[in-house]
């Protein structure tokens, strides 16, 4: 391989160094230095990543083995990185978007005290480091290290303002729900180790393919289905899918750049990365793939419906993220791995853009997040407005914006799989367009509804510059994935990623959709989407605060289908109840009582036995006589005339 790839280790090392410096010297560094170290380290990584990206060629991934992490008996887990096309793309996304967000943060977080500012950047760098480990790991264990690491950073960042109990709760919730998913990953790893004796990606996937080719591993092999389902469980946790999605909206408690980076662009796509990485196993486990598609779609729809009625700007974006992630899983489920990765990329751009935009708005609105108090911000924040509009257009799938290409690819993949999936997916996409423009219109259009004494203001350059860059990306990134319909062989991304998905591609029966149908669907859907956009724009530009409560179905949606309440009712409460039951009943009045009861019963017996010692000689002798009788009976063998003794001595 080329020399370039040997320096892959530099990529995670820069943020790690940044983390250490910012973490250790957080009390002594000035904010400027912290910002430079924090952003600079990630930028260095980005530069190396670009370098790597260009260096990855051919089908063979590059594996760099550093040292044995765990090597015991049959378990051999090296600490190794794997650089191939998939990880290269993710590296770019992570470090690229990461750099922008770091820069953005230097301004957004500037109000914090220096040591908290440093803490923030330390966390952020640590996050980048973990995320890089996740995508660079050459086996499931290293991936898992990153996997848990990002969870931890997410926890730390959500709870960054740790004096707020509800923020802490949100952080805790995020971590714990992620942990539930992690169990799946761990179990899957164990299962993999048992079944294939390796967790290294290359050997594992080679083994899977070889076993399939040799006929020892059928499609829908139970073990494979089990493994993939468990992996998918992990993915639902990390990528906020049903049933573990509820943490993501709560995670908006963190600083907005964090939401942009972690909860939109990077960490939440870890699940997609993992499944894309394990594509061959998922392809072979058709059952799982179907489940993935269905769950993805269900999540997309559910989250979209909830987003329709949210008033907190970040909550809308959060549900939007969940919904978009659902799309990605739909793509994975229908075997359109490239589509999923494509959407990850475009989504990273436009969602990061929108979050940062929202952050800008919040910044400008003095930490007001309720859209009902916005309105007419176009006037005060032109750059934010413009870039945000690009984002909305992109996410809604307006042609030629990036979202259009990626979403189209997913929906077409779904259609090829089953038209039902397509139409439900389309419905979700329509809702996306609706709520995004509801958001846009409520925020930027109409009259300013907020406190007139605190007029909003445009954000500093450090914040708007990343917005602009992201807006450009969100607008044009789609062109790396031009569908064959427009121009054959123009899908650069697909070609680039082809080596990664080579194994699966061979197994998947290509459903070719006729071009006519495809055109029809595309034009039809685009038309409807534009109509919905127009409706929403129109409707919410005139939005006025009424103060009226939502009723009926709207209330259900506003309250997120009461899923949190349901979870609370069927999982949390019973569990706490069980814990309380164990604690107070089984432990204290059960086992401990029993144990103490033994002691107490000895004491009780002691008190009773004392009465035997009556002090009266007659009683003593009476007991003695009784004992003599008993001993005689026993000694002579219980029979009335003691015949038993005969058998004792007479053989």
């Amino acid at each position: 391989m080329t020399n370039i790839l040997q320096y892959a280790w530099l990529v995670p090392v820069f943020p790690l160094i940044g983390f250490l410096i910012n973490g250790v010297f957080r009390n002594s560094l000035s904010k400027q230095v912290v910002g430079i170290i924090g952003s600079g380290s990630v930028m260095l990584s980005f530069i190396v990543s670009i370098w790597l990206f260009t260096g990855v060629k051919g089908a063979e991934p590059y594996v760099a083995h550093y040292f044995d992490f765990i090597s015991v008996g049959k378990v051999a887990i090296p600490f190794a990185f794997q650089i191939d096309q998939l990880s290269a793309i993710f590296l770019l996304i992570i470090t690229g978007v990461g750099t922008l967000i770091h820069i953005y943060s230097t301004a957004y977080m500037y109000v914090e005290e220096p040591k908290h500012f440093a803490r923030y950047f330390a966390y952020l760098n640590l996050f980048i480091f973990s995320m890089l480990l996740l995508v660079m790991g050459a086996n499931y264990i290293i991936m898992f290290i990153g996997w848990e690491g990002v969870g931890l950073c997410s926890y730390l960042l959500i709870g960054f303002w740790f004096q707020r109990t509800d923020y802490n709760n949100a952080a805790k919730k995020a971590f714990i729900m992620n942990r539930i998913g992690d169990l799946g990953v761990l179990l899957a790893v164990f299962w993999i180790m048992q079944k294939f004796q390796t967790v290294n990606f290359r050997e594992l996937f080679d083994a899977v393919a070889a076993q399939h080719a040799a006929g020892t591993l059928n499609v829908n092999d139970p073990a494979l289905v089990g493994i993939t389902l468990l992996l998918f469980l992990g993915a639902t946790g990390k990528s906020a899918q049903i049933p573990l999605y509820t943490w993501l909206p709560d995670a908006m408690a963190g600083p907005t750049p964090v939401s942009a980076l972690i909860h939109a662009a990077t960490m939440v796509t870890a699940g997609i990365y993992m499944i894309a990485r394990s594509n061959i196993m998922f392809t072979l486990a058709e059952t799982t793939s179907n489940i993935v598609a269905i769950i993805g779609l269900a999540t997309a729809v559910l989250a979209a419906t909830i987003a329709l009625k949210q008033n907190d700007i970040k909550k809308v974006l959060a549900y939007s993220t969940v919904s978009q992630l659902g799309f990605m899983f739909l793509a994975l489920g229908v075997g359109s791995y490239t589509g999923a990765v494509f959407h990850v990329m475009t989504h990273a751009f436009f969602k990061a853009l929108m979050f940062l935009g929202a952050g800008s708005v919040i910044h400008g609105m003095h930490h007001e997040q309720d859209m009902r108090n916005y309105g007419g911000l176009k006037k005060y924040m032109p750059v934010t407005h413009a870039t945000f509009l690009v984002g909305c257009l992109a996410i809604s799938g307006v042609p030629l914006f990036s979202g259009f290409f990626s979403k189209d690819e997913i929906l077409m993949g779904a259609y090829a799989h089953s038209p039902v999936l397509y139409f439900i997916g389309l419905a979700a996409a329509l809702m996306t367009a609706f709520y995004m423009f509801r958001l846009y219109a409520m925020t930027f259009r109409g009259q300013f509804r907020g406190d007139a004494h605190h007029l909003p203001h445009e954000s500093p350059v450090a914040m708007t510059a990343p917005l602009v860059i992201l807006a450009i990306l969100a607008a044009v990134a789609g062109f790396i994935g031009i569908p064959a319909l427009f121009k054959p062989d123009a899908h650069i991304l697909e070609k680039y990623l082809a080596p990664v998905f080579e194994g699966s591609a061979k197994l998947v029966k290509a459903h070719e959709i006729e071009h006519g149908t495809e055109w029809g669907l595309m034009i039809g859907s685009t038309a409807i989407i534009l109509a919905v956009i127009a409706f929403a724009w129109n409707k919410f530009s005139k939005y006025q605060k009424t103060g009226a409560e939502e009723t009926g179905f709207g209330k259900v949606l506003e309250n997120k289908w009461y899923v949190d309440e349901i979870y609370n009712g069927i999982v949390v409460k019973p569990l706490l109840g069980l814990a309380a039951f164990f604690n107070s009943v089984i432990e204290k009045s059960g086992i401990d009582k029993l144990v103490n009861g033994v002691g107490r019963s000895v004491q009780y017996a002691s008190r009773q036995f004392r009465y035997l010692q009556s002090g009266v000689i007659g009683n003593y002798i009476l007991i003695m006589v009784a004992a003599i009788v008993v001993l005689f009976l026993l000694g002579f063998g219980f029979t009335p005339d003691f015949r038993a003794i005969r058998s004792l001595f007479g053989k």
Binding site: V602, A605, L612, M624, A626, A627, G635, R646, F649, G650
Partner: protein, 472 residues
């Protein structure tokens, strides 16, 4: 033999000496001198196996290493006892020389009990031990409890004597002899593999009946349940120094008598009756330990503890092998030393309740530490002689009696219960707040007590030092 003769002489010396010596300290000193002389004479016999006087024993007495070694242990305990508790004996009453005389007579009985070969000598030995004890128990004439204890002890002791005599009579009826050897070899015990005739069966019944009664009366003497009832009352009521004497030296002597009595018949006959012993052991352990838990007075607790310890010593009767003999010697030493030590300290206290020990560690750290060692030894904690004592007992019994596993489990649970009440004292001394009672303790007292503790620890590390004397 030396012990029997010189103990009797020492008794007479004390009696007569009492006429001339009025000073109590001098009397104690004289007694101590006699005691040391006894110890030396017995050591002489243990080393040379030749007594000072050659008397035709007519097979009535027989001296074995076991008996002599036990004598040695008991005499050593006695010496320690005199040194540590002489002051307290002086305080019991006016007839100090007589008390010492009686104690020496008891030692004479101890000598007989550890060497008898004939049931007649057993009977005499036990009586010579018992009768002075009745008196010693009742000797604190001003104390109602002492009187009451004396009467109780006497009546019940006499009753058990009756049982013992009935047993001896039945054994005689079966075998026609009082000699242990003859009993063992009599036709009443069918030889292995020989079908008993109808006539010999009659004798067998009588023998078994007699042995059961003997077992019962000996159980009474060693205070095994359910024949233990006299023990708490008597130990509680008797003047404390005499309680210490009864609880240690006398009890061990009775045990040796018990063991000697059944040693021969065990293999041939009582081996089949292990169940009876097992029941007695279990009952003793349970009753002794459990009842001790709720006691408020340390003295009375020690009485129950002595019952409990008897339960463990009964294991020697259960197993009857070479190791059991080692076990009983070791147990005797461990138990006697520790108990005498504890009583020596208890004697000097005004308040016998557990609370009386509160805060002792602050006032008398050395005594508290020693007391702790003694209690740990009684509880059978490793590094003290008590551990190996229990260890040997259980190991000897377990060697070929796996069928009685339940008994061992109960025994161990009981050992754990015993920790409960022994540790109450330790807790009181170290962890409870209190001023601690003033304890009069001369330097000699302390040094000897330290010596005892060291002895216990040495035996707890290397029990072989004592046991090797069993074999040569």
């Amino acid at each position: 033999m030396n012990l029997i003769i010189f103990a009797a002489i020492a008794g007479v010396v004390m009696m007569i000496g009492g006429l001339f010596v009025k000073e109590k300290r001098t009397v104690s000193g004289l007694a101590l001198v006699c005691m040391i002389a006894l110890l030396l004479f017995n050591s002489l016999e243990l080393c040379t196996s030749v007594p000072v006087f050659h008397i035709d024993l007519n097979g009535m007495l027989g001296f074995t290493n076991l008996g002599l070694l036990i004598n040695e242990v008991l005499l050593l305990s006695g010496t320690i006892y005199f040194i540590l508790q002489g002051r307290d004996i002086e305080k019991v009453g006016d007839n100090v020389p007589d008390y010492y005389a009686l104690i020496f007579f008891v030692f004479c009985g101890v000598g007989i009990a550890t060497s008898f070969q004939s049931l007649l000598m057993l009977f005499l030995g036990i009586e010579i031990i018992s009768i002075p004890l009745y008196i010693l128990t009742a000797s604190d004439k001003l104390n109602m409890k002492s009187n009451e204890a004396g009467l109780k002890y006497f009546l019940m002791g006499a009753f058990s004597t009756g049982l013992m005599l009935m047993g001896i009579a039945l054994v005689y009826g079966a075998t026609g002899s009082f000699y242990l050897n003859d009993v063992v070899n009599s036709k009443a015990i069918p030889a292995a593999g020989v079908l008993p005739t109808a006539e010999s069966l009659v004798d067998t019944y009588r023998l078994i009946g007699g042995l059961i009664l003997l077992m019962i009366s000996m159980s009474f003497k060693v205070s095994a349940a359910p024949f233990h009832f006299w023990t708490p009352d008597v130990y509680d009521g008797a003047p404390t120094p005499f309680t210490a004497f009864m609880a240690t030296i006398v009890k061990v002597a009775a045990f040796i008598a018990f063991i000697k009595l059944f040693e021969g018949t065990h293999d041939k006959l009582m081996g089949k009756y292990q169940m009876l012993i097992a029941i007695i052991i279990t009952a003793t352990l349970l009753i002794g330990n459990i009842t001790a838990v709720f006691q408020q007075s340390v003295k009375r607790m020690l009485a129950y503890s002595s019952i409990a310890q008897a339960g463990f010593m009964m294991f020697a009767l259960f197993s009857f092998n070479a190791m059991a003999k080692e076990a009983i010697v070791l147990y005797a030493a461990a138990y006697c030393f520790a108990t005498i030590g504890i009583f020596s300290i208890l004697n000097r206290m005004d308040d016998y309740s557990f609370d009386g020990y509160n805060g002792l560690a602050k006032r008398e750290p050395l005594l508290a530490l020693l007391n702790t060692i003694f209690f740990l030894s009684l509880a059978g904690i490793p590094l003290t002689a008590g551990f190996f004592a229990k260890y040997y007992m259980v190991a000897a019994a377990l060697e070929n009696n796996a069928g009685f596993l339940w008994m061992f489990v109960i025994a161990m649970l009981c050992a754990a219960i015993s920790v409960y009440y022994y540790f109450r004292v330790i807790q009181a001394m170290y962890f409870k707040t209190g001023d601690g009672q003033k304890i009069e303790a001369s330097p000699v007292f302390r040094y000897v007590l330290v010596g005892v503790a060291i002895l216990i620890i040495i035996l707890g590390i290397q029990p072989g030092l004592l046991l090797q004397h069993l074999y040569f």
